[in-house]
Symmetry: C2
Subunit: 153 residues, 2 copies
């Protein structure tokens, strides 16, 4: 695919010639109310840049993998889990997901949460937590509350 030099931002966080896609295939990993837009996917670039939007109350998949993520929040607010810690995020905050680190984004602030995510074009498939992984994550009360979708106080 040839990318045109300019693709305009047309309606909030939607662009010319950029399709709004399902976040993942249905029936696989658990997620809720997430869309995906691939902004840049070019053979000359070693990374892709995607825009994800999580609707109010929604969340991305809790997963980990060998590849890293570089995230720039663009819209709305929410929280994210990185490893064993939960962080509130708002526009322009920078989130770094290192390799082999459990992570999840939640739009748990009554508004959507939209973010850019840079990722290596060549990457491994995500791994989902098993029961033992979940038990270890939930040992931290703040993480358990996050995973249960409890609205932060």
């Amino acid at each position: 695919m040839t990318t045109r030099p300019l693709r305009r931002h047309v309606t909030p966080l939607r662009w010319q010639e950029v399709d709004v896609l399902a976040y993942k295939e249905e029936g696989g990993a658990p997620f809720r109310a997430v869309s995906r837009q691939v902004l840049f996917d070019d053979a000359a670039l070693a990374c892709q840049l995607r825009y994800f939007e999580v609707g109010p109350g929604g969340h991305t998949t809790l997963e980990r993998h060998e590849h890293a993520h570089a995230v720039v929040i663009q819209h709305g607010a929410g929280r994210c889990l990185v490893g064993a810690a939960v962080y509130r995020v708002q526009p322009y905050d920078l989130v770094h997901i290192p390799p082999r680190t459990w992570h999840q984004f939640r739009a748990d602030d009554g508004q959507p949460l939209g973010f850019l995510c840079m990722v290596n074009a060549q990457r491994d498939r995500p791994q989902l937590p098993d029961a033992a992984d979940l038990a270890r994550l939930r040992a931290e009360p703040g993480v358990a509350a996050f995973l249960d979708g409890e609205t932060p106080s």
Copy 2:
């Protein structure tokens, strides 16, 4: 350098633990009123993500190289040259600079122009135009006006 999971956006387009750097070494390629912030530079990521801000009336270097750029405008307005065409840009517009393509960003709209730029971590050095290159570029009146810093009508 270890990147912390969360680095907050503190003042407009400035971040915790992110230095505001000179755009390039002084005395080399021509530019004006540009700052550079490296938001993500991680061994596990094949690209870097930088934030550039061009002050009102300023411009980046007119250059080309083998590597590509993926740009997301974040702040202000201005114009950019990509190849032989000039484009007005505003927040969230997407600009793709293909390999071997002359390009320049100008904050020529009386306001700053700030943008994210994704680029391969491993990349060649930029090439500056010689007199023949400039003559070819300036053959297009709109490009000549852009390079002369003329405010668009």
